[in-house]
Subunit: 216 residues, 2 copies
């Protein structure tokens, strides 16, 4: 008799992530998994990007939170479709949560999907969702030592966005040392400096995003 062995949880997650990716590709939707510490600016980056691109491309959003739908409400006001996932205590999104959310996203009507993960610099790094790119936001007030303390998150990132650069005059944060630390972990990563408050650097980020989408 053959005994069937269940796949471990990461294996199962990986399989569902592949199916999510297939569904996204079939609908020609480019998906970005946005990760950061609490309050680093994930929602503000989505809002700033919508502002720049809403006349050019159709955007949708999946919002991940432990509880509350504050961010989803803010994004909904911009007139883009938004689906809320409340994890109810779980410290990250997983592929199955995103799969359920995707059935409520009007995929034929969008071209770019932001998936805002739970605010956490640790757990989300271990769970593929089916995204095309993983974007990590690290904000100036958090300090420039974060790559040394949370190496996995910076290792798996395709892009690191340094947000809140308008606060550089008031804080000790060495952009060059920070960037060098990230490159030491992950040579291929793209790094952008932005401020969602002043709009500085948003254009460069948006241009990168459009280039990635056009290359598919």
């Amino acid at each position: 008799m053959e005994i069937k062995v269940l796949k471990d949880i990461l294996g199962a997650n990986e399989q569902i992530a592949v199916r999510n990716r297939e569904l996204l590709d079939k609908n020609n939707v480019f998906a970005v998994n946005l990760m950061s510490s609490p309050g680093a600016g994930k929602t503000n980056l989505i809002l700033a990007t919508i502002k720049q691109l809403k006349e050019k491309i159709k955007i949708g959003v999946i919002e991940g939170d432990i509880s509350s739908s504050l961010d989803a409400e803010m994004i909904g006001k911009e007139g883009v479709p938004v689906v809320q996932i409340n994890t109810g205590g779980t410290c990250h999104l997983d592929a199955n949560m995103v799969s359920n959310a995707l059935s409520n996203v009007p995929l034929p009507d969008i071209e770019l999907l932001f998936i805002e993960n739970v605010g956490n610099l640790i757990c989300p790094a271990s769970f593929a969702l089916g995204e095309h790119k993983k974007v990590v936001i690290s904000s100036v007030p958090e300090g420039d030592d974060k790559p040394f303390k949370y190496p996995l998150m910076f290792d798996i990132a395709d892009v690191v966005i340094i947000n809140k650069i308008d606060l550089l005059p008031y804080l000790k944060f060495d952009v060059a040392a920070f960037s060098q630390a990230i490159k030491g972990i992950n040579e291929k990563v793209e790094i952008f400096q932005i401020s969602c408050t002043t709009g500085q650097g948003i254009q460069r980020w948006v241009t990168w995003l459009l280039t990635q989408m056009s290359r598919r």
Copy 2:
């Protein structure tokens, strides 16, 4: 035949936490579990407290990090005993890790022990360590919506410290609304406003700490 059932992990953690607490009490050591998002100011609060109190009381520190010993090295320079726990990926300290660390802390030589948890506003809230007080630091740049988004952390806190108040002029952060949101979750919590950079509010925090220690 009686079948023994193992306690669930939280039950086991709770038991080890009780033993840690007994060991701390036997040695007359007051322990504070410091929790926050990455970069909210846990290490800076410890450094500011050491600066104020090192002539008055004997302080020790347990440093929790995923990897690196950057914070422990900074604290070691102040001449206080410090023990590093590297969790190797785990997103919170637990009572067993602290139990192992305590065997390396010179308990008879200290009166106040800071346990700096892993930077994470979710997972550490669920794990008692044997501490006397749970202190949560929330920094101004993270935004004033955090109690709604991470309610458990604010629910289990004895104290919430609003750090980086020197940045209030440059950011949208409603201290009154933030405090009201916390009190809505946790009526008994103490709230302090501080800046580790300017020293503002540190005296009031330190006075509270000494009062708690003298009441035991």
